[in-house]
Protein backbone atom coordinates (compact mmCIF):
# COMPACT_ATOMS: atom_id res chain seq x y z
CA UNK A 1 0.00 0.00 0.00
CA UNK A 2 1.16 3.50 -0.79
CA UNK A 3 1.68 5.93 2.05
CA UNK A 4 3.55 9.16 2.46
CA UNK A 5 4.66 10.93 5.56
CA UNK A 6 5.37 14.64 5.42
CA UNK A 7 7.13 17.23 7.51
CA UNK A 8 6.77 20.94 6.77
CA UNK A 9 9.53 23.42 7.62
CA UNK A 10 8.92 27.01 6.44
CA UNK A 11 9.21 26.84 2.63
CA UNK A 12 10.35 23.21 2.54
CA UNK A 13 8.27 20.02 2.54
CA UNK A 14 10.02 16.76 3.42
CA UNK A 15 8.24 13.69 2.09
CA UNK A 16 8.96 10.00 2.63
CA UNK A 17 7.32 7.69 0.10
CA UNK A 18 6.54 4.14 1.15
CA UNK A 19 5.52 1.94 -1.79
CA UNK A 20 4.99 3.29 -5.29
CA UNK A 21 5.22 6.80 -6.66
CA UNK A 22 2.19 6.80 -8.95
CA UNK A 23 -1.10 8.64 -9.56
CA UNK A 24 -2.28 8.01 -6.01
CA UNK A 25 1.00 9.20 -4.47
CA UNK A 26 0.98 12.29 -6.66
CA UNK A 27 -2.54 13.17 -5.47
CA UNK A 28 -1.51 12.68 -1.83
CA UNK A 29 1.47 15.01 -2.27
CA UNK A 30 -0.63 17.62 -4.10
CA UNK A 31 -3.09 17.63 -1.20
CA UNK A 32 -0.26 18.65 1.20
CA UNK A 33 1.26 21.41 -0.91
CA UNK A 34 0.56 25.09 -0.49
CA UNK A 35 1.76 28.14 -2.44
CA UNK A 36 4.40 28.95 0.17
CA UNK A 37 6.34 25.73 -0.40
CA UNK A 38 9.28 26.15 -2.75
CA UNK A 39 11.32 23.06 -2.08
CA UNK A 40 10.47 19.36 -1.98
CA UNK A 41 12.82 16.84 -0.37
CA UNK A 42 11.56 13.40 -1.27
CA UNK A 43 12.98 10.30 0.37
CA UNK A 44 12.56 7.40 -2.07
CA UNK A 45 14.64 4.81 -0.21
CA UNK A 46 11.54 2.64 0.28
CA UNK A 47 10.13 3.27 -3.19
CA UNK A 48 10.83 0.55 -5.76
CA UNK A 49 8.51 1.69 -8.50
CA UNK A 50 7.82 5.06 -10.05
CA UNK A 51 5.76 5.60 -13.19
CA UNK A 52 5.16 8.46 -15.62
CA UNK A 53 2.66 10.14 -13.27
CA UNK A 54 5.41 10.47 -10.66
CA UNK A 55 8.14 11.56 -13.06
CA UNK A 56 5.95 14.12 -14.86
CA UNK A 57 4.81 15.56 -11.52
CA UNK A 58 8.45 16.08 -10.47
CA UNK A 59 9.36 17.51 -13.89
CA UNK A 60 6.53 20.05 -13.70
CA UNK A 61 7.57 20.99 -10.20
CA UNK A 62 11.05 21.86 -11.44
CA UNK A 63 9.76 23.65 -14.52
CA UNK A 64 7.85 26.04 -12.26
CA UNK A 65 11.21 27.19 -10.85
CA UNK A 66 10.90 25.24 -7.60
CA UNK A 67 13.68 23.30 -5.89
CA UNK A 68 13.81 19.52 -5.64
CA UNK A 69 15.96 17.02 -3.82
CA UNK A 70 15.49 13.27 -4.34
CA UNK A 71 17.01 10.76 -1.95
CA UNK A 72 17.89 7.41 -3.56
CA UNK A 73 15.31 7.18 -6.32
CA UNK A 74 14.82 3.68 -7.80
CA UNK A 75 16.78 2.71 -10.92
CA UNK A 76 13.67 2.77 -13.07
CA UNK A 77 13.31 6.52 -12.41
CA UNK A 78 16.45 7.22 -14.49
CA UNK A 79 15.28 4.86 -17.21
CA UNK A 80 11.94 6.69 -17.51
CA UNK A 81 13.68 10.09 -17.67
CA UNK A 82 15.77 8.77 -20.55
CA UNK A 83 12.84 7.17 -22.44
CA UNK A 84 10.81 10.38 -22.18
CA UNK A 85 13.87 12.42 -23.24
CA UNK A 86 13.68 14.57 -20.12
CA UNK A 87 17.11 13.76 -18.71
CA UNK A 88 18.80 16.64 -20.52
CA UNK A 89 16.63 19.18 -18.72
CA UNK A 90 17.37 17.78 -15.25
CA UNK A 91 20.47 18.77 -13.27
CA UNK A 92 20.71 15.32 -11.71
CA UNK A 93 23.94 15.98 -9.83
CA UNK A 94 22.20 18.72 -7.89
CA UNK A 95 18.90 16.93 -7.40
CA UNK A 96 19.96 13.42 -6.40
CA UNK A 97 21.48 12.73 -3.01
CA UNK A 98 22.27 9.56 -1.08
Amino acid sequence: MNTISTQKKSKKLKITVQGDFNLQTKKMILSRLNPAIEKLVINLISCDRIDSEGVIFLHRWLQKGNKLQLIEPPAIFFEILEILDLDSSWDLEKIITD
Binding site: D20, N22, Q24, R49, D51, S52, E53, I83, D85, L86
Partner: protein, 500 residues
Protein backbone atom coordinates in the same frame (compact mmCIF):
# COMPACT_ATOMS: atom_id res chain seq x y z
CA UNK B 1 -5.54 -18.17 -17.12
CA UNK B 2 -3.70 -17.59 -13.86
CA UNK B 3 -5.93 -14.90 -12.34
CA UNK B 4 -8.79 -12.56 -13.11
CA UNK B 5 -9.67 -9.47 -11.06
CA UNK B 6 -12.72 -7.23 -11.24
CA UNK B 7 -11.38 -3.86 -10.26
CA UNK B 8 -12.97 -0.59 -9.24
CA UNK B 9 -11.72 2.30 -11.39
CA UNK B 10 -9.88 3.99 -8.54
CA UNK B 11 -6.22 4.91 -8.12
CA UNK B 12 -5.99 3.02 -4.83
CA UNK B 13 -5.86 -0.28 -6.71
CA UNK B 14 -2.84 0.62 -8.85
CA UNK B 15 -0.21 -0.42 -6.30
CA UNK B 16 -1.79 -3.75 -5.22
CA UNK B 17 -2.22 -4.80 -8.86
CA UNK B 18 1.37 -3.80 -9.66
CA UNK B 19 2.64 -5.71 -6.61
CA UNK B 20 0.72 -8.79 -7.79
CA UNK B 21 2.04 -8.36 -11.34
CA UNK B 22 5.60 -8.17 -10.05
CA UNK B 23 5.38 -11.31 -7.86
CA UNK B 24 3.47 -13.23 -10.53
CA UNK B 25 6.02 -12.18 -13.20
CA UNK B 26 8.92 -13.41 -11.05
CA UNK B 27 7.03 -16.67 -10.42
CA UNK B 28 6.55 -17.14 -14.15
CA UNK B 29 10.28 -16.77 -14.79
CA UNK B 30 11.00 -13.06 -15.32
CA UNK B 31 14.08 -11.61 -13.64
CA UNK B 32 13.39 -9.17 -10.79
CA UNK B 33 14.36 -6.24 -13.02
CA UNK B 34 12.16 -7.35 -15.92
CA UNK B 35 9.23 -8.06 -13.58
CA UNK B 36 9.57 -4.57 -12.11
CA UNK B 37 9.66 -2.94 -15.56
CA UNK B 38 6.63 -4.98 -16.65
CA UNK B 39 4.76 -3.96 -13.50
CA UNK B 40 5.42 -0.30 -14.41
CA UNK B 41 3.90 -0.97 -17.85
CA UNK B 42 0.82 -2.35 -16.04
CA UNK B 43 0.80 0.71 -13.77
CA UNK B 44 0.72 2.94 -16.87
CA UNK B 45 -2.10 0.95 -18.44
CA UNK B 46 -4.32 0.95 -15.35
CA UNK B 47 -3.65 4.63 -14.77
CA UNK B 48 -4.74 5.47 -18.33
CA UNK B 49 -7.91 3.38 -17.96
CA UNK B 50 -8.76 5.17 -14.71
CA UNK B 51 -8.00 8.64 -16.08
CA UNK B 52 -9.38 8.37 -19.61
CA UNK B 53 -11.91 5.54 -19.76
CA UNK B 54 -13.47 6.42 -16.42
CA UNK B 55 -12.85 10.14 -15.81
CA UNK B 56 -14.30 11.69 -12.66
CA UNK B 57 -15.13 9.71 -9.58
CA UNK B 58 -16.38 6.65 -11.37
CA UNK B 59 -17.86 3.68 -9.55
CA UNK B 60 -17.38 1.48 -12.62
CA UNK B 61 -15.40 -1.75 -12.71
CA UNK B 62 -12.99 -3.10 -15.25
CA UNK B 63 -11.38 -6.49 -15.63
CA UNK B 64 -7.76 -7.55 -15.61
CA UNK B 65 -6.61 -11.06 -16.54
CA UNK B 66 -3.20 -12.69 -16.17
CA UNK B 67 -2.02 -15.47 -18.51
CA UNK B 68 1.26 -17.26 -18.87
CA UNK B 69 2.72 -19.90 -21.15
CA UNK B 70 6.13 -21.49 -21.31
CA UNK B 71 7.61 -18.60 -23.24
CA UNK B 72 5.69 -15.47 -22.30
CA UNK B 73 3.32 -13.75 -19.90
CA UNK B 74 0.45 -11.46 -20.75
CA UNK B 75 -1.92 -9.11 -18.99
CA UNK B 76 -5.24 -8.31 -20.64
CA UNK B 77 -7.35 -5.37 -19.46
CA UNK B 78 -10.97 -5.16 -20.67
CA UNK B 79 -13.16 -2.17 -19.98
CA UNK B 80 -16.41 -0.60 -21.10
CA UNK B 81 -15.51 3.02 -20.40
CA UNK B 82 -15.35 6.10 -22.60
CA UNK B 83 -13.79 5.59 -26.02
CA UNK B 84 -10.12 6.43 -26.43
CA UNK B 85 -7.60 5.19 -28.94
CA UNK B 86 -3.90 4.80 -28.02
CA UNK B 87 -2.90 5.16 -31.67
CA UNK B 88 -4.01 8.80 -31.50
CA UNK B 89 -1.74 9.61 -28.56
CA UNK B 90 1.89 9.73 -29.63
CA UNK B 91 4.47 11.11 -27.25
CA UNK B 92 6.57 14.00 -28.52
CA UNK B 93 9.44 15.05 -26.23
CA UNK B 94 9.66 18.50 -27.84
CA UNK B 95 6.01 19.13 -26.99
CA UNK B 96 6.67 17.85 -23.49
CA UNK B 97 9.61 20.22 -22.94
CA UNK B 98 8.26 23.27 -24.78
CA UNK B 99 4.50 23.05 -24.23
CA UNK B 100 4.18 20.88 -21.12
CA UNK B 101 2.22 18.39 -23.25
CA UNK B 102 2.93 14.84 -22.06
CA UNK B 103 0.21 13.18 -24.11
CA UNK B 104 1.19 9.58 -24.96
CA UNK B 105 3.95 9.30 -22.33
CA UNK B 106 2.19 6.36 -20.63
CA UNK B 107 1.78 4.47 -23.91
CA UNK B 108 5.45 5.00 -24.73
CA UNK B 109 6.43 3.47 -21.38
CA UNK B 110 4.00 0.56 -21.89
CA UNK B 111 5.70 -0.21 -25.20
CA UNK B 112 9.19 0.27 -23.71
CA UNK B 113 8.62 -1.99 -20.69
CA UNK B 114 6.82 -4.82 -22.51
CA UNK B 115 7.54 -6.78 -25.68
CA UNK B 116 4.10 -6.23 -27.14
CA UNK B 117 1.31 -3.75 -26.56
CA UNK B 118 -1.95 -4.31 -28.43
CA UNK B 119 -5.22 -2.45 -28.41
CA UNK B 120 -8.47 -3.88 -29.77
CA UNK B 121 -11.64 -1.85 -30.04
CA UNK B 122 -14.49 -4.33 -29.60
CA UNK B 123 -17.13 -1.76 -30.51
CA UNK B 124 -20.06 -1.84 -28.13
CA UNK B 125 -18.37 -4.67 -26.26
CA UNK B 126 -15.74 -2.21 -25.01
CA UNK B 127 -11.99 -2.13 -25.39
CA UNK B 128 -9.22 -4.62 -24.75
CA UNK B 129 -5.58 -3.82 -24.02
CA UNK B 130 -2.89 -6.46 -23.89
CA UNK B 131 0.65 -6.26 -22.57
CA UNK B 132 2.94 -9.22 -23.19
CA UNK B 133 6.48 -9.99 -22.13
CA UNK B 134 8.72 -12.81 -23.34
CA UNK B 135 10.42 -15.04 -20.81
CA UNK B 136 14.02 -16.05 -21.36
CA UNK B 137 14.29 -19.69 -20.33
CA UNK B 138 18.01 -20.27 -20.34
CA UNK B 139 18.18 -24.03 -19.88
CA UNK B 140 15.85 -24.81 -22.79
CA UNK B 141 17.51 -22.07 -24.87
CA UNK B 142 20.86 -23.71 -24.40
CA UNK B 143 19.41 -27.03 -25.48
CA UNK B 144 17.78 -25.47 -28.50
CA UNK B 145 20.99 -23.70 -29.41
CA UNK B 146 22.89 -26.98 -29.80
CA UNK B 147 23.94 -27.15 -33.40
CA UNK B 148 21.33 -28.58 -35.73
CA UNK B 149 23.86 -31.19 -36.80
CA UNK B 150 24.39 -32.39 -33.24
CA UNK B 151 20.66 -32.57 -32.58
CA UNK B 152 19.97 -34.42 -35.80
CA UNK B 153 22.75 -36.87 -34.95
CA UNK B 154 21.17 -37.55 -31.56
CA UNK B 155 17.82 -38.13 -33.18
CA UNK B 156 19.35 -40.36 -35.90
CA UNK B 157 21.15 -42.42 -33.26
CA UNK B 158 17.88 -42.96 -31.48
CA UNK B 159 16.27 -43.77 -34.80
CA UNK B 160 18.84 -46.52 -35.39
CA UNK B 161 17.88 -48.07 -32.10
CA UNK B 162 14.20 -47.71 -32.86
CA UNK B 163 13.72 -51.15 -34.34
CA UNK B 164 10.39 -52.49 -33.19
CA UNK B 165 10.29 -54.30 -29.84
CA UNK B 166 7.42 -56.58 -28.91
CA UNK B 167 6.24 -56.32 -25.35
CA UNK B 168 3.75 -58.60 -23.73
CA UNK B 169 2.87 -56.62 -20.66
CA UNK B 170 2.48 -52.98 -19.91
CA UNK B 171 0.42 -51.00 -17.43
CA UNK B 172 -1.79 -47.95 -17.96
CA UNK B 173 -2.24 -45.61 -14.98
CA UNK B 174 -3.63 -42.15 -14.31
CA UNK B 175 -0.80 -39.61 -14.39
CA UNK B 176 0.63 -38.28 -11.13
CA UNK B 177 2.84 -35.22 -10.72
CA UNK B 178 5.80 -37.56 -10.13
CA UNK B 179 5.47 -38.78 -13.76
CA UNK B 180 6.46 -35.35 -15.10
CA UNK B 181 10.11 -36.09 -15.89
CA UNK B 182 9.30 -39.37 -17.65
CA UNK B 183 6.72 -37.58 -19.81
CA UNK B 184 9.28 -34.95 -20.86
CA UNK B 185 11.80 -37.66 -21.79
CA UNK B 186 9.16 -39.51 -23.78
CA UNK B 187 8.49 -36.41 -25.87
CA UNK B 188 12.18 -35.79 -26.43
CA UNK B 189 12.74 -39.39 -27.56
CA UNK B 190 9.84 -39.18 -29.96
CA UNK B 191 10.10 -35.69 -31.39
CA UNK B 192 13.58 -34.36 -30.55
CA UNK B 193 12.98 -30.67 -29.88
CA UNK B 194 10.48 -30.27 -32.70
CA UNK B 195 7.21 -30.74 -30.76
CA UNK B 196 5.23 -27.52 -30.87
CA UNK B 197 4.15 -27.50 -27.19
CA UNK B 198 7.31 -26.34 -25.46
CA UNK B 199 5.85 -26.93 -21.98
CA UNK B 200 6.32 -30.65 -22.50
CA UNK B 201 10.09 -30.30 -22.32
CA UNK B 202 9.86 -28.82 -18.83
CA UNK B 203 8.99 -31.36 -16.13
CA UNK B 204 8.10 -28.56 -13.68
CA UNK B 205 5.46 -27.20 -16.06
CA UNK B 206 3.95 -30.68 -16.49
CA UNK B 207 4.00 -31.21 -12.73
CA UNK B 208 2.20 -27.92 -12.14
CA UNK B 209 -0.42 -28.78 -14.74
CA UNK B 210 -1.11 -32.20 -13.19
CA UNK B 211 -1.29 -30.75 -9.69
CA UNK B 212 -3.71 -28.06 -10.89
CA UNK B 213 -5.85 -30.87 -12.37
CA UNK B 214 -5.88 -29.07 -15.73
CA UNK B 215 -5.23 -32.34 -17.48
CA UNK B 216 -6.72 -35.81 -17.37
CA UNK B 217 -4.03 -38.16 -18.53
CA UNK B 218 -2.67 -41.70 -18.53
CA UNK B 219 0.86 -43.03 -18.77
CA UNK B 220 1.87 -46.43 -20.13
CA UNK B 221 4.82 -48.24 -18.55
CA UNK B 222 6.65 -51.48 -19.19
CA UNK B 223 7.07 -54.02 -16.42
CA UNK B 224 10.46 -52.50 -15.50
CA UNK B 225 8.80 -49.09 -15.06
CA UNK B 226 10.04 -47.45 -18.27
CA UNK B 227 7.48 -44.96 -19.61
CA UNK B 228 6.47 -45.85 -23.16
CA UNK B 229 3.31 -43.83 -23.78
CA UNK B 230 1.37 -40.78 -22.64
CA UNK B 231 -2.13 -39.59 -23.50
CA UNK B 232 -3.90 -36.59 -22.05
CA UNK B 233 -7.07 -34.59 -22.53
CA UNK B 234 -8.06 -31.16 -21.22
CA UNK B 235 -11.70 -30.63 -20.19
CA UNK B 236 -13.18 -27.53 -21.81
CA UNK B 237 -14.18 -24.64 -19.52
CA UNK B 238 -17.69 -24.00 -20.80
CA UNK B 239 -18.85 -27.46 -21.88
CA UNK B 240 -18.79 -31.16 -20.96
CA UNK B 241 -16.31 -32.07 -23.65
CA UNK B 242 -12.56 -32.53 -23.52
CA UNK B 243 -9.86 -31.91 -26.07
CA UNK B 244 -7.01 -34.30 -26.73
CA UNK B 245 -3.90 -32.45 -25.66
CA UNK B 246 -1.06 -34.87 -26.30
CA UNK B 247 -0.81 -38.49 -27.43
CA UNK B 248 2.53 -40.20 -27.87
CA UNK B 249 3.99 -43.71 -27.88
CA UNK B 250 7.75 -44.28 -27.85
CA UNK B 251 8.60 -45.26 -31.49
CA UNK B 252 10.19 -48.61 -30.71
CA UNK B 253 7.18 -49.79 -28.68
CA UNK B 254 4.55 -48.93 -31.28
CA UNK B 255 2.30 -51.63 -32.77
CA UNK B 256 1.88 -53.24 -29.35
CA UNK B 257 -1.58 -51.83 -28.74
CA UNK B 258 -0.28 -49.16 -26.35
CA UNK B 259 -2.17 -46.26 -28.00
CA UNK B 260 -5.43 -48.28 -28.13
CA UNK B 261 -5.13 -49.21 -24.47
CA UNK B 262 -4.45 -45.61 -23.47
CA UNK B 263 -7.36 -44.35 -25.59
CA UNK B 264 -9.71 -46.93 -24.02
CA UNK B 265 -8.59 -45.88 -20.55
CA UNK B 266 -9.09 -42.20 -21.41
CA UNK B 267 -12.61 -42.99 -22.64
CA UNK B 268 -13.32 -44.78 -19.33
CA UNK B 269 -12.06 -41.73 -17.43
CA UNK B 270 -14.10 -39.40 -19.66
CA UNK B 271 -17.22 -41.50 -18.97
CA UNK B 272 -16.61 -41.38 -15.24
CA UNK B 273 -16.34 -37.58 -15.50
CA UNK B 274 -19.60 -37.52 -17.53
CA UNK B 275 -17.92 -35.92 -20.54
CA UNK B 276 -20.05 -36.22 -23.69
CA UNK B 277 -17.42 -35.87 -26.43
CA UNK B 278 -13.71 -35.94 -27.05
CA UNK B 279 -12.25 -33.53 -29.57
CA UNK B 280 -9.03 -34.23 -31.43
CA UNK B 281 -7.55 -31.46 -33.55
CA UNK B 282 -5.41 -32.93 -36.29
CA UNK B 283 -2.96 -31.10 -38.57
CA UNK B 284 -3.62 -31.46 -42.30
CA UNK B 285 -0.09 -31.24 -43.69
CA UNK B 286 -0.05 -35.05 -43.34
CA UNK B 287 -2.81 -37.57 -42.57
CA UNK B 288 -1.10 -39.44 -39.69
CA UNK B 289 -3.00 -37.87 -36.75
CA UNK B 290 -6.31 -38.01 -38.63
CA UNK B 291 -5.73 -41.72 -39.37
CA UNK B 292 -5.21 -42.40 -35.67
CA UNK B 293 -8.37 -40.45 -34.79
CA UNK B 294 -10.33 -42.25 -37.51
CA UNK B 295 -9.19 -45.63 -36.21
CA UNK B 296 -10.73 -44.85 -32.84
CA UNK B 297 -14.04 -43.70 -34.29
CA UNK B 298 -13.56 -39.92 -34.36
CA UNK B 299 -15.51 -38.12 -37.09
CA UNK B 300 -14.27 -35.02 -38.89
CA UNK B 301 -16.92 -32.32 -38.50
CA UNK B 302 -15.03 -29.13 -39.38
CA UNK B 303 -11.88 -27.87 -41.06
CA UNK B 304 -10.26 -24.68 -39.80
CA UNK B 305 -8.22 -23.03 -42.54
CA UNK B 306 -4.87 -21.41 -41.71
CA UNK B 307 -5.38 -22.31 -38.07
CA UNK B 308 -1.79 -22.35 -36.88
CA UNK B 309 1.57 -20.96 -37.91
CA UNK B 310 3.88 -23.37 -39.64
CA UNK B 311 6.08 -25.53 -37.42
CA UNK B 312 8.55 -28.24 -38.35
CA UNK B 313 7.79 -31.78 -37.26
CA UNK B 314 10.38 -34.47 -36.90
CA UNK B 315 10.03 -36.68 -39.96
CA UNK B 316 8.16 -33.94 -41.85
CA UNK B 317 11.03 -31.61 -42.57
CA UNK B 318 10.03 -30.19 -45.91
CA UNK B 319 8.73 -26.61 -45.92
CA UNK B 320 4.97 -26.35 -45.94
CA UNK B 321 4.14 -23.24 -47.93
CA UNK B 322 1.06 -21.97 -46.06
CA UNK B 323 -0.32 -21.75 -42.52
CA UNK B 324 -1.51 -25.16 -41.36
CA UNK B 325 -5.21 -25.99 -41.47
CA UNK B 326 -6.69 -28.27 -38.84
CA UNK B 327 -9.31 -31.02 -38.99
CA UNK B 328 -11.64 -31.03 -35.98
CA UNK B 329 -12.47 -34.64 -35.14
CA UNK B 330 -15.14 -35.50 -32.54
CA UNK B 331 -15.71 -38.79 -30.75
CA UNK B 332 -19.14 -39.04 -29.07
CA UNK B 333 -18.94 -40.77 -25.68
CA UNK B 334 -22.54 -40.29 -24.60
CA UNK B 335 -25.18 -39.41 -27.18
CA UNK B 336 -26.89 -36.22 -26.01
CA UNK B 337 -30.70 -36.11 -25.82
CA UNK B 338 -32.58 -35.32 -29.03
CA UNK B 339 -32.49 -31.60 -29.66
CA UNK B 340 -34.03 -29.10 -32.06
CA UNK B 341 -31.58 -27.27 -34.30
CA UNK B 342 -32.27 -24.39 -36.69
CA UNK B 343 -30.26 -24.84 -39.85
CA UNK B 344 -29.50 -22.09 -42.37
CA UNK B 345 -30.61 -23.29 -45.79
CA UNK B 346 -27.26 -23.07 -47.52
CA UNK B 347 -25.54 -25.26 -44.91
CA UNK B 348 -28.49 -27.49 -44.04
CA UNK B 349 -27.44 -30.50 -46.12
CA UNK B 350 -23.81 -30.65 -45.00
CA UNK B 351 -24.71 -30.07 -41.34
CA UNK B 352 -27.37 -32.81 -41.45
CA UNK B 353 -24.86 -35.21 -42.96
CA UNK B 354 -22.39 -34.31 -40.22
CA UNK B 355 -24.98 -35.07 -37.53
CA UNK B 356 -25.61 -38.36 -39.29
CA UNK B 357 -21.88 -39.18 -39.24
CA UNK B 358 -21.82 -38.53 -35.49
CA UNK B 359 -24.96 -40.62 -34.98
CA UNK B 360 -26.64 -37.72 -33.20
CA UNK B 361 -30.41 -37.55 -32.95
CA UNK B 362 -31.70 -34.09 -33.86
CA UNK B 363 -34.90 -32.41 -34.99
CA UNK B 364 -33.91 -30.04 -37.81
CA UNK B 365 -35.86 -26.88 -38.57
CA UNK B 366 -35.07 -24.21 -41.12
CA UNK B 367 -36.55 -21.28 -39.26
CA UNK B 368 -38.75 -20.39 -36.32
CA UNK B 369 -40.39 -17.44 -34.65
CA UNK B 370 -38.02 -15.38 -32.52
CA UNK B 371 -37.72 -12.07 -30.72
CA UNK B 372 -34.44 -10.19 -30.74
CA UNK B 373 -33.10 -8.93 -27.44
CA UNK B 374 -32.25 -5.24 -27.15
CA UNK B 375 -28.52 -6.00 -27.02
CA UNK B 376 -26.49 -8.87 -28.41
CA UNK B 377 -24.37 -11.00 -26.11
CA UNK B 378 -21.14 -11.83 -27.90
CA UNK B 379 -17.81 -13.09 -26.56
CA UNK B 380 -14.52 -12.37 -28.26
CA UNK B 381 -11.44 -14.49 -27.62
CA UNK B 382 -8.17 -13.45 -29.20
CA UNK B 383 -5.23 -15.80 -29.68
CA UNK B 384 -2.37 -13.38 -30.21
CA UNK B 385 0.21 -16.11 -30.86
CA UNK B 386 -1.60 -17.37 -33.98
CA UNK B 387 -3.22 -14.02 -34.91
CA UNK B 388 -6.63 -15.64 -34.83
CA UNK B 389 -9.83 -14.66 -33.04
CA UNK B 390 -12.99 -16.45 -32.06
CA UNK B 391 -16.33 -14.67 -31.84
CA UNK B 392 -18.99 -16.61 -29.95
CA UNK B 393 -22.59 -15.46 -30.33
CA UNK B 394 -24.54 -16.24 -27.18
CA UNK B 395 -27.59 -14.11 -27.92
CA UNK B 396 -28.76 -12.10 -30.94
CA UNK B 397 -29.87 -8.54 -30.35
CA UNK B 398 -31.22 -5.81 -32.57
CA UNK B 399 -27.66 -4.49 -32.80
CA UNK B 400 -26.17 -7.82 -33.96
CA UNK B 401 -25.00 -6.74 -37.42
CA UNK B 402 -23.53 -3.47 -36.10
CA UNK B 403 -21.72 -5.07 -33.17
CA UNK B 404 -20.34 -7.90 -35.31
CA UNK B 405 -19.24 -5.54 -38.10
CA UNK B 406 -17.49 -3.24 -35.59
CA UNK B 407 -15.74 -6.20 -34.01
CA UNK B 408 -14.56 -7.57 -37.37
CA UNK B 409 -13.38 -4.12 -38.54
CA UNK B 410 -11.42 -3.60 -35.34
CA UNK B 411 -9.82 -7.05 -35.60
CA UNK B 412 -8.97 -6.46 -39.25
CA UNK B 413 -6.92 -3.39 -38.29
CA UNK B 414 -4.53 -5.82 -36.58
CA UNK B 415 -3.89 -7.96 -39.69
CA UNK B 416 -5.42 -11.19 -38.47
CA UNK B 417 -4.76 -14.60 -39.97
CA UNK B 418 -8.28 -15.90 -39.35
CA UNK B 419 -11.49 -14.91 -37.60
CA UNK B 420 -13.84 -17.70 -36.47
CA UNK B 421 -17.52 -17.09 -35.80
CA UNK B 422 -19.61 -19.54 -33.76
CA UNK B 423 -23.40 -19.31 -34.14
CA UNK B 424 -25.79 -21.24 -31.85
CA UNK B 425 -27.81 -23.81 -33.78
CA UNK B 426 -30.34 -24.08 -30.96
CA UNK B 427 -31.33 -20.44 -31.52
CA UNK B 428 -34.23 -20.02 -33.94
CA UNK B 429 -32.81 -16.66 -35.12
CA UNK B 430 -29.63 -18.19 -36.53
CA UNK B 431 -30.84 -18.90 -40.11
CA UNK B 432 -32.10 -15.35 -40.67
CA UNK B 433 -29.22 -13.64 -38.84
CA UNK B 434 -26.74 -15.59 -40.95
CA UNK B 435 -28.34 -14.29 -44.13
CA UNK B 436 -27.98 -10.74 -42.73
CA UNK B 437 -24.20 -11.01 -42.37
CA UNK B 438 -23.26 -12.29 -45.84
CA UNK B 439 -21.51 -8.97 -46.54
CA UNK B 440 -18.89 -9.91 -43.95
CA UNK B 441 -17.63 -12.77 -46.18
CA UNK B 442 -17.54 -15.58 -43.65
CA UNK B 443 -17.46 -19.08 -45.15
CA UNK B 444 -18.29 -22.51 -43.79
CA UNK B 445 -15.98 -24.20 -41.30
CA UNK B 446 -18.15 -26.95 -39.83
CA UNK B 447 -20.34 -28.28 -37.04
CA UNK B 448 -19.19 -28.17 -33.41
CA UNK B 449 -21.36 -30.53 -31.36
CA UNK B 450 -21.82 -29.76 -27.65
CA UNK B 451 -19.09 -27.17 -28.00
CA UNK B 452 -20.14 -24.18 -25.91
CA UNK B 453 -22.55 -24.44 -22.95
CA UNK B 454 -23.31 -28.05 -24.04
CA UNK B 455 -25.04 -26.76 -27.17
CA UNK B 456 -24.23 -27.24 -30.86
CA UNK B 457 -22.66 -24.41 -32.84
CA UNK B 458 -22.18 -23.68 -36.50
CA UNK B 459 -18.62 -22.47 -37.03
CA UNK B 460 -17.88 -20.02 -39.85
CA UNK B 461 -14.46 -18.68 -40.76
CA UNK B 462 -12.89 -15.72 -42.49
CA UNK B 463 -9.40 -16.34 -43.81
CA UNK B 464 -6.91 -13.62 -44.73
CA UNK B 465 -4.23 -15.65 -46.50
CA UNK B 466 -4.29 -17.43 -49.86
CA UNK B 467 -5.12 -21.10 -49.42
CA UNK B 468 -4.03 -23.92 -51.72
CA UNK B 469 -6.57 -26.65 -50.99
CA UNK B 470 -4.54 -29.24 -52.93
CA UNK B 471 -2.03 -29.47 -50.11
CA UNK B 472 -4.61 -29.77 -47.32
CA UNK B 473 -4.46 -33.51 -46.66
CA UNK B 474 -7.77 -34.85 -45.31
CA UNK B 475 -7.98 -38.55 -44.51
CA UNK B 476 -11.65 -39.49 -44.10
CA UNK B 477 -14.10 -39.56 -46.97
CA UNK B 478 -16.56 -37.32 -45.17
CA UNK B 479 -13.75 -34.94 -44.19
CA UNK B 480 -12.91 -34.63 -47.89
CA UNK B 481 -16.52 -33.74 -48.57
CA UNK B 482 -16.32 -30.92 -45.99
CA UNK B 483 -13.06 -29.76 -47.55
CA UNK B 484 -14.53 -29.51 -51.06
CA UNK B 485 -17.63 -27.74 -49.68
CA UNK B 486 -15.38 -25.16 -47.99
CA UNK B 487 -13.12 -24.89 -51.05
CA UNK B 488 -16.09 -24.15 -53.32
CA UNK B 489 -17.33 -21.38 -51.05
CA UNK B 490 -13.79 -20.00 -50.60
CA UNK B 491 -13.24 -19.82 -54.38
CA UNK B 492 -16.62 -18.18 -55.01
CA UNK B 493 -15.80 -15.45 -52.45
CA UNK B 494 -12.26 -15.04 -53.81
CA UNK B 495 -13.55 -14.60 -57.37
CA UNK B 496 -16.21 -12.11 -56.21
CA UNK B 497 -13.51 -10.13 -54.40
CA UNK B 498 -11.28 -10.06 -57.47
CA UNK B 499 -14.18 -8.85 -59.60
CA UNK B 500 -14.91 -5.98 -57.24
Amino acid sequence: MDARFQILANEQIISPVCDFTYSWGVNCGLTNREALRFSVAVSELITDVILFAFPGDSKENFEIEFYHTFSHIEVVVSEMGEPFDPDRHTYDSNKALDEDDFDGAGFLLMRSFSDEFTFINKGKEGKEFRLAKNIQIHDIDELLQQSAVQREAEIRDEGDQESHINIEEFTIDRIKHTDAEDISKLFYRTYGYSYNKEDLYLPKKIEASVLAKDKLGVIARKKDGEAIGFFSVIPKDNSDIAEVAEAVVSPKYRRNGVMSSMMNRIIEIAKSQELTMLLGEAVTLHPVSQKVNNKFGYKTTAIELASMVNVKYKGFDEDYPQPISMALDFLPIFQPLRKTVFLPEKYSEIVLETYDELGMDIEPKESGAYHLAEKSDIDLEIDYSSSSSLIIVKRYGKDFLTVLSDMVSSLEEKSPQTILLDLPLGNSATPEQLSNITSLDFIYCGLLPQFHFNADFLRLQKVYSAIDFNIIDIYSEFGQKIKSFIADEYHIYSEEKQET
